[in-house]
Amino acid sequence: MRAYLPDYDIQSPETLDEALTLLSREPGKWRPIAGGTDLMVLLNAGRLSDLNLLDISRLTELRGISENGPSVTFGALTTYSELRQHPAVREHLPNVVESARVTGAQAIQNRGTLGGNIVNASPAADTPPSLLAYGAEIELVSVRGKRRVPYESFHKGYKKMDLAPDELLHSIHVPIPKGSGFHFYRKVGTRQAQAISKTCLAAHARIENGVVEELRIGLGSVAPVPARARSAEAVILGKAVDFLPIEDAVKAIQSDISPIDDIRSTARYRRVVTANVLRQALEELARTGRAS
């Protein structure tokens, strides 16, 4: 514990209203802390200078998973362990379960939250590709009320978000895919646990009469923000599973990504491996499509 903080305060409100009032009175002053698995690392390393923490971990309004008609709603405080154990999530959203399973390890999963993973806004975060693949929406809340935005438009640039200083992430709505769809998730890291992704790809497709009618591909660690692979999707959409132009999609995905060299990997590795993972996904898609 190396933190020495000249300006430090912590508030633990019991209700969402109290929390939002605090945030609106002094916007920008309070930093929400949920599971702390991102923030505490910075704190312990002495990398936070001024810190006023708003402990939101006790806000029951931000907890819980529910099936609301056509979608599953996750409170922002949903932990990885909670969602891995939830029957509706396991049944309908296997990519979300898989991204939680490969995040950190037991103790991180018991404490880290879905909301924290989104708002921490790391391009390498592991649940965003799944949320993008399922076309999730997120709900933000402040004293001014609630608003809902497509998750896809939430990240505006590296660590920049469509989130006002007085707002909290309230919940995440994920539409339940119709029919028996194709789900694919693969994270590539240094080891199977506790590793930050070098590249990560999630995909969901709906196949009807042997044709790919719907496809979303979410990517992590290969752009400044979690991103959709729009060009690759466009190559595959509307095509018959028997004749998927896989190699064209593999070429196209190169224009969807802008990876960099960093401590975990190189841009070149990320380009090659992302393409390989896409190929694997599309080959599986073709197999699943033929079998169905």
Binding site: Y4, I10, M40, G46, Q194
Partner: protein, 213 residues
């Protein structure tokens, strides 16, 4: 924990000066250490109601079934309070960034890294440390399993491994070897005793089950 006993101020990672133990001796010393760093004097005078690093907060902490009244600074981690305020040194510091698992404890029965947990967050919750797994003078089932299966070499990571195993078995009392490997993946062992650690967890499942019967 270092409080920048050097004169370089915040952001400096210089660890020289006041010795760790000596510094941690008492809260009063800690406050003096901060004042001496000069950083506080440079900061504008804070409003009186604000919790300051040198203004400890009262906390009732329930650890291993006993309630402790402690004064904690809001930024203190549970790991630090357990070891250096309560003297429960079974819980080990390793990386202090949530990667190695040496500091694993149970909070309300769930495995958590105490280095990533603020002591204040544990308010109203039950904390269980390696010391709390004892049944009087006897080792608890999971502890016994590690002894019987030689689930360690130097032993430094062991308290964390045992607590992670305990947390895993409370969610999944009969894990497969695959589930054990995955469940224990947040606990590193520098000695590489993994094979024995995994066997210990298997054994712990058996011993815990027979204990419950």
């Amino acid at each position: 924990m270092d409080d920048h006993p050097c004169k370089h101020g915040d952001g400096c990672t210089c660890h020289s000066g006041v010795s760790r133990r000596g510094f941690l001796g008492s809260i009063t010393t800690a406050a003096a250490g901060i004042a001496a760093s000069g950083t506080l004097t440079a900061a504008p005078a804070p409003p009186p109601e604000k919790a300051q690093p040198d203004e400890p907060v009262k906390l009732q902490l329930s650890v291993n079934g006993r309630t402790h009244k402690v004064l904690v600074e809001p930024r203190w981690t549970l790991l630090y309070v357990l070891r250096d305020q309560l003297g429960l040194t079974g819980t080990k510091p390793g990386c202090e960034r949530g990667e190695c698992g040496a500091c694993t404890v149970l909070i309300d029965g769930v495995a958590r890294y105490s280095c990533l947990t603020l002591a204040l967050e544990a308010k109203g919750k039950e904390v269980t440390t390696i010391e709390g797994l004892m049944k009087g003078e006897e080792l608890g089932a999971t502890q016994r399993a590690f002894v019987e299966e030689d689930g360690y070499q130097c032993g430094y990571c062991t308290p964390g491994q045992v607590m992670a195993a305990e947390g895993l078995l409370r969610v999944n009392p009969r894990p497969s070897m695959e589930e054990i490997r995955h469940g224990m993946s947040g606990n590193l062992c520098r000695c590489g005793a993994y094979v024995h650690i995994f066997k210990s967890v298997e054994k712990a499942a058996v011993l815990s089950a027979s204990e419950k019967r």
